[in-house]
Symmetry: C3
Subunit: 160 residues, 3 copies
């Protein structure tokens, strides 16, 4: 077994799309980023890479590389999954917490979990996505940013 | 094994009780919340639910449900423990970090750990509670909020 | 197995050294602290102590104890490693995320990982260090603080 932990934060600005875990969430503001700014996919990518000391998303996909401009963050996540597999490991489970002041993510949680499970090649029962607000304080609470933390457990054998 | 991760934050206001891990901590301010605002119990509840992808505290105990108004957060935690047990799992260990600018929680850590251990049905040696300040910056550092993060490991067999 | 989770934050001020994971990082500002303010070593120390419910860094090394003034935080980490060993456990892996607005830590990540691996008595392939910015918002994003979170997995047997 190995434990991995990822975190990401993106600023939000009016008129941009808000894409979280590959799902476009209706919102009056979205992520400022070089890629598509999917803070969930980024945090999960980092958790996977971190569990096996394979680097981090910034090193693998530099944000000053034009090839990564506006890029689908699912590509980053898929590559991390491939690297975990290449190292002989598989995902046991993933637990994600998204912190966003609004809108409420509850209605989208099912679609977000399905996206994550499909990309991690595990069943839905191994993928948790929890949503919180930041209670109105600091950048996330004031609606100026979204953050996400991800915890992952991987194992050398097939998950049991 | 499954890994779970929970996080919570509540705003603090003068004249309210400060209840953390079921212990009333003497303080000139306490949590603003629909329930009793126990950020530790809430974070641990979410970590347990998250480890087995059983939803989150907001979905199980909606804060717009009058039944949850002023409710003892120990009820939420007990229910999460029951659901973990019902899924055939038990808690291996819990590690909690509370971030509060003041007062110092050291004198209360023993009572808080005892509450958690009793509700999680494990020995005290499997429950860690660490306290930090936020060094005077941001909402927590300025004494306007308290936050808590919890990491949990659960296993299908009896913990070993 | 046991899971541990640590977090730390220090304020930054001009003219002080910035020491992270035992590596002095060239910077126009550094950590305000009673010890050397190494937020990475502090977070990892707390993650190790937390995994086995051995207390926390504030209890073991009080910041109002003159013996800890300006102290090398490697001492705290070494002591935590000793206590984990004394309890019959060893580190399986460590995953660290440092959040600092500037400078970029990429060039120092190798040296930081090497320091951590040497002190944790494990191979480099079991130590991950990831770097993020705070996207310009809140105290960390405004360059007024650095934070670090650490996730650790320990096991009773030799790590496998
Ligand atoms: Mg990102
Ligand atoms: Mg709460
Ligand atoms: Mg510190």
């Amino acid at each position: 077994f190995r434990t991995g932990s990822g975190w990401d934060l993106h600023r939000l600005e009016p008129g941009l799309p808000l894409v979280l875990a590959g799902v476009e969430v209706p919102s009056d503001r979205g992520c400022v980023a070089h890629s598509d700014g999917d803070a969930v996919f980024h945090a999960v990518t980092d958790a996977l890479l971190g569990s096996l000391a394979l680097g981090d998303i910034g090193r693998l996909f530099p944000d000053d590389d034009p090839a990564n401009a506006g890029r689908d963050s699912g590509d980053f996540l898929d590559e991390a999954v491939r690297r975990v597999q290449a190292a002989g490991y598989a995902v046991v489970n993933l637990d994600v917490t998204v912190v966003l002041q609004k809108p409420r993510l509850g209605p989208h949680a099912g679609a977000m979990r399905a996206q994550l499970a499909a990309r991690l090649l595990v069943g839905l029962d191994r993928v948790s996505l929890k949503a919180k607000t930041h209670e109105g304080v600091d950048a996330v609470g004031e609606g100026r940013a979204v953050s996400c933390q991800a915890a992952v457990l991987v194992t050398r054998a097939a998950p049991a």
